[in-house]
Each structure stands twice: as C-alpha cells, then as structure tokens.
C-alpha cells in the first residue's frame, strides 16, 4: 500500500489546539457512542454526584439533538443527602430524560438485603439492589462515573469492564483493551460496566464542571455544618450518624468532595464557595478524594476491590 500525502493542509498554527479537557471530553463522548452503537439495552448511573453530572453533559454532547439512547438510573440507599436527591430529580427533569430510582430499602423489604445491625452502612448493600435492577430491566451495559485515580483497584479497571452472570468482576481475567477498539460483547445475563471518565482525575472533573458552567448540589461548596472528629475524619452529625458518647459537636465550614451514602461520607474543612475555589483547593490538597471522605475504604487495603468483585460499581 502506498499513500502520498501531498495534500496542501492548513498551517497547524491556524488550527485550534486541544486542551487536556478537550482530549478527555472527546474520548468520553467516543466511549458513550460506542455503548449506544453496540449495546442493546444500556443504562447510565446518575446519582446527582459530580462525576455523574459530568457524564450527563458528555451524553448531551454525544447525542443531542436526539434524546439519550438510555434511561438514567439511581440506586438510593435511603441514606442520601436530601440536597443531592433533589438535585438528581431536577437535573433529570431539566434534561427531559427518564430516571429510574431503585432503593436498598425495597431490597430490605424483599429480604434480599439483610443488615446485621440497623445502623450498619447500606453502602455495600447497594450492589444487591443494583444487580436486582439490572436483572429487572435486562440491562446489558451500565455506564458509571468511576475514575481510575479514585482507588488502586480501580486503576486496573477496563473502560468496558465485563461482569459475569453473578455481576462479579474478575480482576485477574479481564479482557485486554487495545487502542479504542472495545470488545462490548456479552452473553445473556452478563453485562458490561462502562466508565467513560476512567482517565479523569478529581481536578479534571472540577475543571470541566467549571468550564461547562455546570451546577452541582450545594453541599459540594462550603457551608456550615455540625460535625464530630472521628479517626481523623470529620463525621457529619445527622440522624443516621449521631455523635457518640464523649464526642464534641463542632460547627465548621465544610464541603463534600464526594456525596455518597451519609453513613460513610465525610466532608472536609473548606471555605471554597465556587468551582474556581474548589479547583484551587484541589490543586493543593495532599489527601486523596476517598482518603479524606470515605470511611468504608479505610477498613482494609483491599476494601474497594472486594466490593467491586461482588458487583459494586
């Protein structure tokens, strides 16, 4: 084969240069479109959190002026921050897209989720409800906003990550992923988890939210909140997480870096009231997103990996 490239082309200086956000955005849009092109019945996880807010903007860029080729879904532990749930519903309505909500409490009523103690975190139980919902609707692909920089088990996750009929992730036996040629094939009962923003960091997410002028739930910005100090974390004082005996309740200016289940999500001290201020703080922070905020990832060196193997997203 020969190819002679004598075609006059515009001077590179005249072409727009692509910033790192352009690059990341373009890759994610490509991935979303591959899901739409190859998967029969996909769904997109939308929790109202910042990563899934980014996913929705990317889906707009991938598919508008058409509607999204998938519904949105959220698995609610029943222990989510009310601001986030309100934001979730408002954003889905604003986009005119269908939102499916399934709750861990329904699984508890069905008896498929059994907690050892009433105050046990429901975060891990989400996996059960999630797999039940995937089976209920027959989804063959579930798009999520997980990022490889979040946690070291996630660093080895594929963009198209295969789940067997039990929803399990087998990290030692993953399909090799080359170029952007994704192998999306699954048999009946199996499914793919797809992570379009795998290559984004927390800083990239905030820079993108800022560039796109995207609204986020108010608790991502600094606000005053009663907290107690426990194991080096700030634990928010709520009905679900009351202060323990001997703990002193303080009211501090805080913001959340992640907005997961209340029982395991902690804010950090902050005065950042805008996206730009959050970016400035994120660029300087010395603690990872999950390290500063997640009680459930600190229980063992492999806690995330174990949850993921069982179907956690």
């Amino acid at each position: 084969m020969s190819a002679v490239l004598e075609k006059p082309r515009p001077d590179r200086g005249a072409l727009p240069s692509r910033s790192h956000l352009d690059w990341l955005e373009s890759e994610a849009i490509f991935i979303l479109r591959e899901v739409a092109g190859e998967c029969a019945n996909p769904v997109l996880f939308f929790s109202g959190g910042k990563d899934s807010i980014v996913l929705l903007r990317l889906a707009e860029k991938a598919f508008r002026p058409a509607k999204f080729p998938f519904p949105l879904m959220h698995v609610d532990t029943g222990h989510n921050f009310p601001e986030v749930i309100a934001f979730r519903d408002a954003r889905a309505a604003e986009l005119g897209e269908r939102l499916i909500a399934r709750s861990v409490e329904e699984s508890m009523r069905r008896g498929t989720v059994k907690l050892r103690r009433p105050d046990e975190s429901r975060n891990a139980a989400q996996s059960v409800t999630l797999l039940e919902a995937i089976a209920e609707f027959g989804f063959d692909a579930a798009i999520g906003g997980a990022r490889r920089d979040e946690e070291k088990a996630r660093a080895k996750e594929r963009v198209f990550s295969f789940r067997d009929e039990f929803g399990q992730w087998d990290p030692k036996n993953q399909r090799p992923e080359l170029w952007s040629l994704y192998n999306t094939r699954v048999a009946k009962g199996e499914h793919m988890r797809v992570f379009p923003i795998s290559n984004w960091t927390e800083l990239d997410v905030w820079q993108y939210l800022s560039r796109e002028r995207l609204a986020v739930p108010s608790i991502y910005y600094a606000h005053r909140r009663p907290v107690v100090r426990r194991n080096g974390l700030l634990v928010p004082v709520t009905q679900i997480t009351p202060p323990r005996e001997g703990e002193t309740v303080e009211e501090l200016s805080v913001r959340f870096r992640t907005v997961g289940d209340i029982s395991c999500t902690c804010p950090v001290e902050s005065t950042a009231a805008t996206a730009a201020e959050v970016i400035a703080e994120t660029a300087l922070t010395t603690i990872t997103e999950r390290g500063a905020t997640r009680m459930d990832d600190q229980t063992s060196e492999a806690s995330m990996e174990r949850r993921k193997k069982e179907g956690y997203f």
């Binding site: 084969m1 490509f30 092109g37 170029w179 795998s198 800022s210 990996e305």
Partner: protein, 432 residues
C-alpha cells in the same frame, strides 16, 4: 463566576498541550516502579494518605524503606504475591500537560501487556540499568514499541549513581542502542541519563551530571509534539451513530471521531462503502457549530446531501481514499491463553473489529512467527501461544476500509474476538 475569571487571568500564560500518553518499559530491577514513583512524587501526584498506606504495607512486609512499587500494585493477589498482574494507569499533570502512564509489568505476560499499553501510547520510556547496558529485553522493548507505532522513544539510562555518573558509560550504552535501533527507523529517539532513586534528571536536574546538557525526563515528555501527526494524514471518520431526533425535527447528523485529517464546512467527502460523494454542511457539538474539527475531536457531521450512511461506514478524503480490502496481511499479537494450533487454522473463524465495523474473518495462513528474543522470522510455525507475534493472512466476509498501521493507527488496527466465548484473542496491525 467572577472569581474564576480572575484566577484565569492571574494564571501564567502557559499553553495547555493536552494529554500525553506514555508507557514505561523495563523490569522492576531496572527501577521502573521507582521511576514512576519518582515522577508521581516529584510532580506532587502522590497524596499523603497514599504514602501512609504504602508505609503501612511496607512495614507489614518487614521492609524499612518505602516500597514505591506498592503504589502501583493495586490488587490483593499482587500484594500477596509481590507481583504485578496487569496494566495499570497512573496520572499526573504539570501546568503544561496531563500525563497518562500505562504501567505494564514485566513477567510472563510481558509482551501482551506491553502491546496493550503501547497501543494507546504516544511515547515509550525504555529503561536501561547503567550497570548492565543494552540487554536482550531492551531490544524486545524497542521492537514492541516500534511494532505498535510509538513514534517517540526516550531511552532512560538509570542507576547512573551506581556507575559514578560516568559520561562514558552513558555514551557506550547510547552507541550500543543505536547500533541495533537504526534498523527500526525510530522517528524521534532521545537518550537521558537518570537516577530514579535520587531523582537526578527526572523532574529536577540535580548536580551530579552537569556534562549532560539535554532536557530532564519530565521536560522531554512535556516537549514531545504530537499535535499535528494525525492532522497531517488524509481525513478518516468512522461513523459511530446516525443522530436523528425524530418527530418534528429536521436533523440528520453522523456522530463519530475524526481519526485523522481535518474537517471544515465545505470539505468534500466520500462515504464508504457506497462511494457517494458529498460536502460537509455543518459540524456540530451540542448547540454550536464548529468552524473546524481536527484529529481526535468527537463531533456530529451534517452533510449537504441525503445519502446512505450508517454505523460502520466511513467518511473519507475522496482524493486519498483508504484501501477497500476483502483480505489483509497483518502482524498480530496473540493475547489469549488458548493456543491457536496451525493444524486447525483452516477452520478458525473470528469476529474482527476494525474502527466501528465488525466483520467475520477467516485465517488463511500463518505466514511467519517472530521470535521476540532474536527478532528472527520463523517460517511455518506450529501454532500461536499467548504473547506470540506473527504475520498472518486473513480473509474477510465484507470489505474493510483500511490504511497501513504504520501510516494510520486508527484505520490500521483491529482486534480478533472469539464469537463463541466473546474473548479478545488477538490485536492486529495491518501491513503496508
């Protein structure tokens, strides 16, 4: 958002050079984990809690020093066995550029993992231990990087502290490398002496090698120019989706990514396989029209004429068309643990995925196998096992629109899938 405006104005005017993806080739003994740890640490991409976790894990193993390889070994089994199983991706950024490192382990499945990591890499950093010089594995690494079309290769001669920072050692290794690498015709090849352990010439220059005048490793990675490589090639746009809002809206667009070339409203195109020609009416992204799309941009293209285009088709430069082929010759890397027995070749059927098009494929012939240690071609191999690299001939159920891999990675690459098990069996690069 006035504050944002102020911060943007106050920030020093450095151009955002986008993303550079690179791979580090070398074994643990060459100091690869230390190098990655050093890059992450000195660019402040490692956080205190990660370092604390590494310290905890190191002391649990009875190690006094921080074992930076624990930063990159993510899975339980890896930590238990002290090995690295799979490709892991790491991130760091400087004010100029975001970097993605594919960290590929050097054990039995090395070839498969390096091929995977190199498939998306712009650059490869090949590590050489200054005490050992060029080894058979160095040739292997250079060959795989070249095979996968990585155009920028940096040879980092590490552990210079253990050879007294001797310039003559560095020069000899450079000569040895060039002696075999000249045959590979590497487009951009650089040599940098470093000490990953001490941090010399990684991010900071250090004081020990003032005889070296070139850039540090990080500066070299920042300078690599990948912007116009794909823009300069003929236009290729594999169609991912047809965007049709339906009811009452008069819009029909073709969604995809510009894999090479540039696109303007008014650009003439040919649609393949139909061969119909048309002109770009508009390039849209969400609610705005774009004056131009360059390689890497995901856009939606609106055409002037109503022609037959669907997923798997390609829009291309009509004067420099891709080759439309029903049979191809390609180099493949066998990725699967299932052997491919040469005696069963005549019955082997695959699904071949190329750009956004999947077709049935039949293996016609195993032309030769490459011995990855000697780089010699072995005619008539008895079969292929995991990590093997071979040249094959394939017959296709429908035509593909291809360029040689050497010329265009996106339209020259494919994967082979087992239709029964859905496993990815092989990665392929189409011959020129």
């Amino acid at each position: 958002m006035t504050l944002l405006g102020e911060i943007e104005r106050a920030a020093p005017a450095v151009e955002d050079l986008g993303v550079l993806r690179f791979i580090t080739a070398g074994s643990v003994d060459d100091g690869k984990s230390t190098l990655i740890g050093r890059l992450l640490h000195d660019t402040r991409a490692i956080f205190e809690d990660q370092l604390a976790a590494v310290a905890r894990a190191s002391s649990k193993r009875g190690q006094d020093d921080l074992d930076l390889s624990l930063l990159t070994d993510g899975l339980e089994a890896e930590r238990e066995q002290g090995i690295t199983i799979d490709v892991a991706y790491r991130y760091f950024a400087t004010p100029r550029r975001k970097f993605i490192i594919a960290d590929t382990p050097g054990h039995e499945q090395y070839t498969r993992n390096m091929v995977t990591g190199a498939s998306t890499a712009d650059a490869t950093v090949i590590l050489i231990d200054a005490r050992k010089g060029v080894l058979p594995q160095t040739r292997r690494h250079a060959y795989i990087a070249h095979l996968l079309g990585v155009r920028h290769i940096i040879v980092a001669v590490n552990k210079m502290d253990l050879v007294g920072f001797d310039e003559t050692v560095f020069d000899r290794i450079r000569k040895d490398f060039l002696a075999f690498a000249s045959a590979l015709a590497i487009a951009d090849l650089r040599f940098i002496p470093i000490s990953a352990l001490r941090g010399d010439l990684i991010v900071d220059r250090g004081k020990s090698m003032s005889w070296y005048r070139g850039p540090t490793l990080l500066a070299a990675l920042e300078e690599i120019d990948v912007a116009d490589e794909a823009d300069a090639l003929p236009f290729r746009f594999p169609v991912q989706l047809v965007v049709r809002p339906g009811a009452g809206k008069d819009f029909r667009g073709y969604a995809g990514r510009v894999e090479s070339g540039t696109l303007f409203p008014g650009t003439e195109l040919v649609a393949l396989p139909s061969g119909q020609r048309t002109v770009v009416r508009d390039i849209v992204s969400l609610d705005r029209s774009m004056p131009v799309a360059v390689a890497g941009d995901s856009v939606t293209v609106v055409l002037a004429d109503d022609i037959d285009v669907s997923r798997g088709d390609m829009l291309a430069d009509p004067t420099h068309r891709p080759h439309s082929l029903r049979s191809i010759r390609a180099r493949i890397c066998w990725l699967s643990s299932n052997l491919l027995d040469a005696r069963t070749v005549s019955t082997a059927r695959f699904l071949l995925k190329h750009t956004t098009r999947s077709v049935k494929a039949k293996l016609l012939h195993l032309n030769y196998r490459v011995d990855i240690n000697t780089l010699e071609q072995q005619a008539a191999p008895t079969g292929l096992a995991m990590n093997d690299i071979a040249n094959v001939s394939l017959s296709l159920a429908q035509p593909l629109f291809v360029d040689s891999y050497e010329l265009n990675r996106a339209t020259g690459s494919f994967i082979l899938i087992d239709e029964a098990t859905n496993q990815t069996l092989a990665a392929g690069m189409i011959d020129g």
